[in-house]
Subunit: 225 residues, 2 copies
C-alpha cells in the first residue's frame, strides 16, 4: 500500500474523524478500504506522471539538434525574430515604437527548458551591438518550482541616457506594459501569458509567423498572396 | 523529411509566395531549410503525442481494477455518491432541492474513457428504483473527436407526471441550469466545466469529498474535527 500524498486526508484504522463515529463498524471498514485504494491510485498516478515526464524529456532531446539547425538557418535571415514577434498579434500588441527599433538588433531567440522540464525554462535573447544597452544576452528565467513561482531577468546595462523603459515598478503594473517592461519584471509566471506564448506558440514554429502576418488559420496554402 | 500537417503553410522550392520574391536566392534557400526543419519537428511532436497517449492508456488499464474494488466498497456506504456530489461546491451549486432527493437513488457513478482516451468518455449514473424515472442507467457520452465535439445522453423515461426538469431548451441555457438539465443537454463539451469536474476531480478521488465537506486543502489531518 502506498503512502498518502502530503495534503490528502488520512484515515488510519483507529484515527477515524469524530463525525464518522455514527458509521457502523462494517461501514468504517469500507471507508478504510476505499482509503487504501485511493493510496494505491495515488502511487499509480505518481508513476504515470514520472513516466510521461521521461517521455517528454526524451523528445526534448530529440528536438534539440533540429532547433540548433534551425537557428543556423535563421541567422541568414535579417530581422527574422523582430518580424516574427511583430507578426504575432499578442506580442506585437505590447511592442512600442522604440522597442520595435531595439528588436531589430535581436539576433537569436531561444527557449531552454530546465533538465526536469517541469520546474521552469529560460527565454534567452541575444542582441547585436546597439545604441541602447551593453548586454549581448538578456535572459528571463521562469522558475515554476517551489512554493512561490517567480522570474528573474539579467539586469540591463543601459548606455548613457538610453534607458527607454518608463514604468519599471513591478508593483504598479499598468494596462500598457511594454515588451521590455514585461521582460524585466518579476511577475507571477503562472499568470504570464507573454512568456507562455513565446515558449509554447512562437518557439515551436516561428516560421509561420515570420512568413505570414495575416495568415488565416483555415488556409493551408499561400494562394491568395 | 516528414509531411507537413494539413493546416500549416507550405513552402516547396518553386512555390514561394509572391511577397517573398524580394528575398535573395540564399535567403530563399534558408527559408526552405527552416521549413524542412519544421516538418521534421512536426513528426517528432506527433511521435511524442502518440507515445504519451500509450503511457496514459497503460496506466488507465492499471487503474481499472482499483476503481472496480473501490466501487465494491462504495456499495456498502449509503448515499456515498449523493453526499460526494453535494460536498463538491461546483456540483452542489447546480443541484436543486428536488434533485437532491433524486440523487439519493444514485447507486453508482462511473467514468469510462474511450479506448484511445483522447476521443472522449462516458459518465454513467446507475440509479435504484425510484418514483421519478424508469431508467436504471443514464449515460452522458462526451465525444471530443471530429469536427464538432458533442454530447449525447440516454433519454430519460419519466414516470407519469414526474418529470422535474423545467428548462430543457438547450438553445436557451440560463444561469440557473440544474444538474439534470446539465445531464440531458448537448452542450459543447470543451466548455463543459461540470463534466470535467466529475471526470478529473471527483472520479480520481471521491472519498475526499464524501468525508469532508469543509476540508481546508491546507490541512492534512482531521485533527480539528
Ligand atoms: Ca490514507
Ligand atoms: Ca512544409
Ligand atoms: Mg532557432
Ligand atoms: Mg467507484
Amino acid at each position: 500500500m502506498g503512502e498518502p500524498s502530503a495534503k490528502k486526508p488520512k484515515l488510519e484504522g483507529d484515527q477515524l474523524p469524530e463525525h464518522l463515529n455514527a458509521f457502523q463498524e462494517e461501514q468504517k471498514r469500507s471507508l478504510i478500504l476505499i482509503d487504501e485504494v485511493q493510496n494505491e491510485l495515488d502511487q499509480i498516478n505518481e508513476q504515470a506522471s514520472e513516466e510521461i515526464l521521461k517521455v517528454e524529456q526524451k523528445y526534448n532531446k530529440l528536438r534539440h539538434p533540429h532547433y540548433e539547425r534551425r537557428a543556423e538557418h535563421i541567422k541568414n535571415l535579417p530581422n527574422f525574430w523582430s518580424t516574427t514577434l511583430l507578426n504575432h498579434h499578442q506580442i506585437s500588441s505590447i511592442i512600442n515604437p522604440v522597442e520595435e527599433e531595439v528588436l531589430k538588433h535581436l539576433e537569436i531567440l531561444e527557449i531552454e527548458e530546465f533538465e526536469d522540464i517541469k520546474s521552469g525554462y529560460v527565454i534567452r535573447l541575444t542582441f547585436g551591438d546597439n545604441e541602447y544597452f551593453e548586454n549581448d544576452k538578456i535572459e528571463k528565467e521562469i522558475n515554476l518550482a517551489g512554493e512561490k513561482p517567480c522570474t528573474a531577468t539579467t539586469p540591463i546595462k543601459w548606455k548613457e541616457g538610453k534607458c527607454f523603459i518608463k514604468n519599471d515598478d513591478e508593483n504598479n503594473p499598468n494596462e500598457t506594459m511594454s515588451f521590455f517592461e514585461w521582460l524585466i519584471r518579476n511577475v507571477d509566471p503562472t499568470l504570464d501569458d507573454i512568456a507562455e506564448v513565446i515558449k509554447d506558440d512562437i518557439w515551436p514554429n516561428p516560421l509561420q509567423y515570420f512568413l505570414c502576418p495575416a495568415l488565416d488559420a483555415t488556409n493551408d496554402t499561400y494562394e491568395e498572396f
